[in-house]
């Protein structure tokens, strides 16, 4: 009897709780939580501005980023050129605004490559174990044992300088920590009763990995990717600075610092503004990653 009345109550409650778009509502809840915390809110706002800037770059940039004006070189910040002009008379603000497109391209392509690879390697290694795990993790170890900038330098040197090759090189150095993380997460779930239960129901290993294990790993992998975006931006800027990433006419922030370096002592704005942009964006990704970890981790609730 008691059970029946309890169930009736639950049914009554359930009537008001039909949620057809729960995923969307969950996203809104996460965003609200991120905005509630000042540091992660700052990260989210900066990244939103970054994305919007990249989309409407031609509309808000006051000048063409590649137009050379030799009569107007190395001008300090002023009303016409808010961030000053560089050694070829190009407007630095416009170049930074167009630079967001390059940074976002790098970030998007790297996370699209790195997320699935890391997730796949990590979950399969953790789930199957044995010699497959050993081989996969030794390969991961080899990648992890080099500092990421050195390894990407080696890849770019082998593939040839250029933005595309820099993206590939960064991707190759970013997946191992994600694979490690996904493997560690998988090891904690693979003995869970719900995995045994779905195996007893005849689910294949592939089905268990995709439907049961990957959703469990996804939040922490997402956080990890967000956090590694800061490193990705810095590595991309570093490669650009060394002349191995984006090539000169492109307004890539690291390359801008590299050319500004020669004039740095007398013309601080050539280096300070692109440097500030890199600092701001990588800081924002770090803070957002931290906030996401708090918002997505069910263990902390």
């Amino acid at each position: 009897m008691a059970a029946q009345s309890l169930d009736m109550q639950d049914v009554a409650m359930n009537g008001t709780r039909s949620n057809p778009n729960s995923a969307f509502r969950r996203l809104l809840a996460v965003i609200r939580e991120l905005l509630g915390n000042p540091s992660s809110g700052f990260g989210l706002v900066v990244i939103t501005i970054l994305v919007l800037t990249a989309i409407v770059a031609p509309l808000i940039a006051p000048y063409d980023p590649n137009v050379i004006d030799l009569g107007n070189t190395l001008k300090p910040p002023s009303a016409e050129h808010w961030f000053g002009t560089d050694e070829l008379g190009r407007d630095i603000m416009s170049r930074i605004i167009y630079g967001t497109r390059i940074s976002l391209t790098i970030i998007t392509i790297v996370s699209v490559i790195v997320g699935p690879i890391g997730l796949l390697v990590g979950t399969t290694a953790g789930y199957f174990g044995g010699w497959y795990d050993t081989i996969m993790m030794r390969i991961t170890d080899i990648f992890l044992s080099f500092p990421s900038l050195i390894l990407s330098l080696a890849f770019v040197a082998a593939l040839g300088a250029g933005l595309e090759n820099a993206i590939i090189a960064i991707g190759l150095t970013t997946w191992p920590p994600i694979a490690r993380l996904a493997r560690a997460e998988t090891l904690t779930f693979r003995g869970a009763d719900y995995i045994w239960a779905s195996r007893m129901q005849g689910a294949s290993s592939l089905r268990i990995i995709i439907k049961s294990i990957m959703p469990m790993c996804l939040p922490s992998v997402l956080v990890r990717i967000t956090l590694s975006m800061a490193t990705v931006i810095l590595t991309a800027a570093g490669l650009g600075f060394l002349g191995l990433g984006a090539q000169p006419p492109l307004p890539e922030w690291g390359a801008m610092i590299a050319t500004g370096r020669r004039y740095m002592l007398d013309n601080w704005w050539l280096v300070a503004f692109p440097g500030g942009a890199i600092l701001l964006v990588s800081l924002a990704f770090n803070l957002l990653g931290d906030g996401l970890r708090d918002a997505l981790d069910p263990k902390q609730r």
Binding site: A2, A3, Q4, L6, D7, D10, V11, N14, G15, R17, S18, N19, A192, D193, Y194, W196, A197, S198, R199, M200, Q201, G202, A203, R207, K211, S212, P215, M216, P298
Partner: protein, 252 residues
């Protein structure tokens, strides 16, 4: 017909001097439609036997036959349709990020069964839950409701044998009785065969016709339910266990 026939089931772990016997020559058989209990203290190997039968452990020796066929020879798809299991911990046996709909639909999809929505709703009604529960997630349910969902999930493939690994030990006493009654009803309706693991003799007495008492990985005695009331077990350990349980009940 014999539903489950376990012959000389043994597990040894380690090699040489470090070799340790986990299960030793376990033999028992369960008739179709019967409910058979496995009792014993913690670590006596009850759940291990269940996991061997459930094919979750594969390093055993001996022979396990289900309906006259060895489990190792049975095609896995057929095996899944014949045997399902309900786990001890209702908080760990449902995927925390899958709705009840997904949990129930997965087995139907794997086995390409027809009328999926109808079967899912039917399964929930059969365990005393409203079909509206389909859209819920496990964290929105109580322990007893979760265990009902776990039972629904086990029964949705219409197995003939159900392995129950202490299905009520993680539940509150009042909810325990409801789940036990539900299991008894379902068995009567569907003519299921139960292999019921518990350390609670009162639960076994309520649920099972026969039981095996285990100690240190061995079956010390197979007895019928009546022996529990009289306490006339042949084996000294079984007698002690029954006596202790009676005294405990009186004390409570």
């Amino acid at each position: 017909m014999t539903a489950i026939d376990v012959r000389n089931l043994s597990i040894d772990l380690g090699y040489g001097l470090a070799k340790k016997r986990i299960l030793g020559d376990v033999c028992f058989s369960v008739e179709a439609g019967e409910s058979f209990g496995l009792v014993g203290e913690s670590g006596s190997g009850k759940s291990t036997i269940l996991r061997c039968i459930a094919r979750l452990l594969n390093v055993w020796e001996g022979d396990i036959q289900l309906e006259g066929r060895s489990v190792t020879d049975m095609p896995f798809v057929e095996y899944c349709r014949a045997v399902q299991m309900v786990f001890q911990d209702p908080y760990g046996s449902l995927h925390p990020r899958q709705s009840i709909r997904t949990a129930l639909q997965e087995p139907l999809r794997i086995h390409r069964m027809d009328r999926q929505l109808e079967r899912m709703e039917r399964a929930l009604i059969d365990v005393g839950l409203d079909p509206a529960f389909l859209s819920r997630f496990p964290h929105e349910l109580s322990g007893g409701q979760r265990q009902r969902v776990a039972i629904a999930r086990a029964l949705i493939l219409e197995p003939r044998i159900l392995l129950l690994d202490e299905p009520t030990s993680a539940l509150d006493v009042s909810v325990q009785a409801e789940v036990l009654n539900l299991l008894a009803d379902l068995r009567a309706k569907r003519n299921l065969t139960y292999l019921f693991v518990s350390h609670d003799l009162a639960v076994i007495d309520h649920m099972c016709e026969r039981l095996a008492v285990m100690q240190h990985g061995r079956v010390v005695e197979v007895m019928s339910r009546d022996v529990l009331a009289t306490g006339q077990a042949k084996d000294p350990y079984a007698r002690e266990l029954i006596q202790a349980s009676l005294e405990y009940d009186q004390a409570v």
